[in-house]
Amino acid sequence: MEQAYEATRRAFSQTLLRLAKNNRHIVAMTSDSRGSVTLNAYAEELPEQYIEMGIAEQNLVSAASGLTSFGFVPFVCSPACFLSMRSIEQVKVDVAYSATNVKLIGISAGVSYGALGMSHHSLQDFAVMRAIPNLAIIAPCDAVQTEAVTEVIAAFQGPVYVRLGRNPVSQVYAPGTDCFQWGKAVELAVGNDVTIIATGEVVQAAVTAAKQLRQQGIKARVLNMHTIKPLDNEAVLRAARETRAIITVEEHSVMGGLGGAVAEVLGQHQPCPLRIMAIADEVTPSGSQSELLAHYGLDAAGITACVTGVAREAARDRAFK
């Protein structure tokens, strides 16, 4: 397949416009983020289904929960760094606890605002959102999966947080692929030596790494863990039983994200060697998204190097047993 590049936020806004044209209950809400979400066309075509709330994320989230009282399905679209931090208590009380049908769409997540610094990086969103009951968390890996996710959550009754990126990402899936089943990890590469579990925009790098590893004779299973919560525990435990080690890969802090979620499952049910590839617990340096990802080893080369080491160690440990 020829590599196509598209931003997940754009796939989201185009899908939402298509859905909203046929469902007058869908409303898009922004915090002066209409342009950054790429909702300009939506706002012009459907002004009655668009609400600007200004730079006031707390009010944005609470107001969205209020709109559900009249049957609306609000899609709250705001940079993930602010949506998941500035309004986290509104997410907890007014959305999750009150069980309102609000869709929280965090755009430009991870380090996609690379050079803008730590204020604009969203590296804690999985951690804080995961600790809140009654809130699903999804991180699609590319534009095709984003489209599928948007369709599914629009029909789903309940609170969801979706984490999207900013920059064009290479497509993992061919257009039209059936690639999203709620809470079910997708196996993108078959292998029984080690398992790479990845989420979001670094999934493509994991797939590329698996190809490089295969040339070295290491067969890495790759799981696209698009749903962070509820986590596909079954797929994690199967990987622990069938392969020698697990490597998680995410554009998030090393604390409390995908790696933390996987560790919770493994530690309690099926201990297994685990390496968490993520952003270190430190103030990140400045640079583009790709520079930052490479710095933290979250590109294909970094994943390949890490997995090679883990696979060697796992093989050695097994030989000594």
């Binding site: 707390q58 107001a63 969205a64 209020g66 709109l67 009249f70 609306f72 208590e89 509104q90 009150s98």
Partner: protein, 282 residues
């Protein structure tokens, strides 16, 4: 909607509040007592609700932003028949749905509150939703004065005026006290009415214990902007030794205090019964 003897109803509600808090051994008595006339005016003189159909789509919405004053809210809902009155005895008991802050498991409750400063935002969203859905429902939000220091209140105030939400009425239970003492010592709120006017609201100042003033303000004609009813109240109203005492924010009466309080409320009920004044809704 019904016409009731407001003072007698308020005394009945206060008795229920006192019983709930005494039996549970916990609760927020001061702010519940100060809001009794406000709740009675809303639920017996203003709002369109149906206790037999709590989710009737065309109902008016109420949000208790000062969610800790939940006792007065539960008492009114039980009195109207949203749930059995005996259930008030389970207040704050293990497993009860009558927890210490408003909770949508209770029929008639629209939204979970407890963290201060959220209610107006939720209410402005509801009011905007009503407009976009071409619904005639009105939205009422009761806030405490202590919670007005939360920034989100002013985010909501700005947005409500921006969207000209004349179906939204916010009420401030201006009892002048919060848990640590007088509001003006904790953080200056005055000139409060001016602040709301500057944010684009129509402001009506009333006595929060006067049914005529409250019901008139709550049923006022729409003016193309959101309406703030600034209700001057006495915290702990109706029980002499609790009135205007900041430490009674969440105090629990002793048995002796309970009996005295009960006697005072009984006397108020009897006095009101003799007068027989009615609230008449429009």
């Amino acid at each position: 909607m019904c016409a009731v003897n407001g003072s007698r109803k308020a005394a009945e509600i206060r008795k229920l509040v006192l019983d709930m808090i005494f039996h549970a051994g916990s609760g927020h008595i001061g702010g519940s007592l100060s809001a009794a006339e406000i709740l009675v005016s809303l639920y017996y003189g203003t709002m369109r609700v149906d206790p037999t159909n709590p989710t009737w789509p065309e109902r008016d919405r109420f949000i208790l932003s000062k969610g800790h004053s939940v006792e007065v809210y539960y008492a009114v809902l039980a009195d109207l028949g949203f749930f059995p009155r005996e259930e008030l005895d389970t207040f704050c008991q293990f497993g009860s749905r009558l927890i210490g802050h408003t909770n949508t498991k209770v029929p008639g409750v629209e939204h979970n509150t407890g963290s201060l400063g959220h209610g107006l935002s939720v209410g402005m969203g509801m009011a905007l939703g009503a407009k976009r859905a071409h619904s005639l429902s009105r939205v009422f939000v009761l806030m405490g004065d202590g919670e007005l220091t939360e920034g989100s209140v002013w985010e909501a105030a700005m947005a409500a005026a921006h969207y000209k939400l004349d179906n939204l009425t916010a009420i401030i239970d201006r009892n002048g006290l919060q848990i640590s003492g007088p509001t003006e010592n904790v953080m200056q709120l005055e000139p409060l009415a001016d602040k709301w006017r500057a944010f684009g609201w129509h402001v009506t100042e009333v006595s929060g214990h006067d049914f005529d003033e409250l019901v008139a303000a709550l049923n006022a004609e729409k003016l193309g902007k959101p309406h703030l009813v600034l209700a001057k109240t006495t915290k702990g109203k109706g029980i002499s030794f609790i009135e205007n005492q900041a430490h009674w924010h969440h105090g629990v009466p002793s048995e002796e205090q309970y009996l005295q309080a009960k006697a005072e409320l009984e006397a108020q009920w009897e006095e009101a019964s003799g007068v027989g004044a009615g609230i008449r809704s429009n």
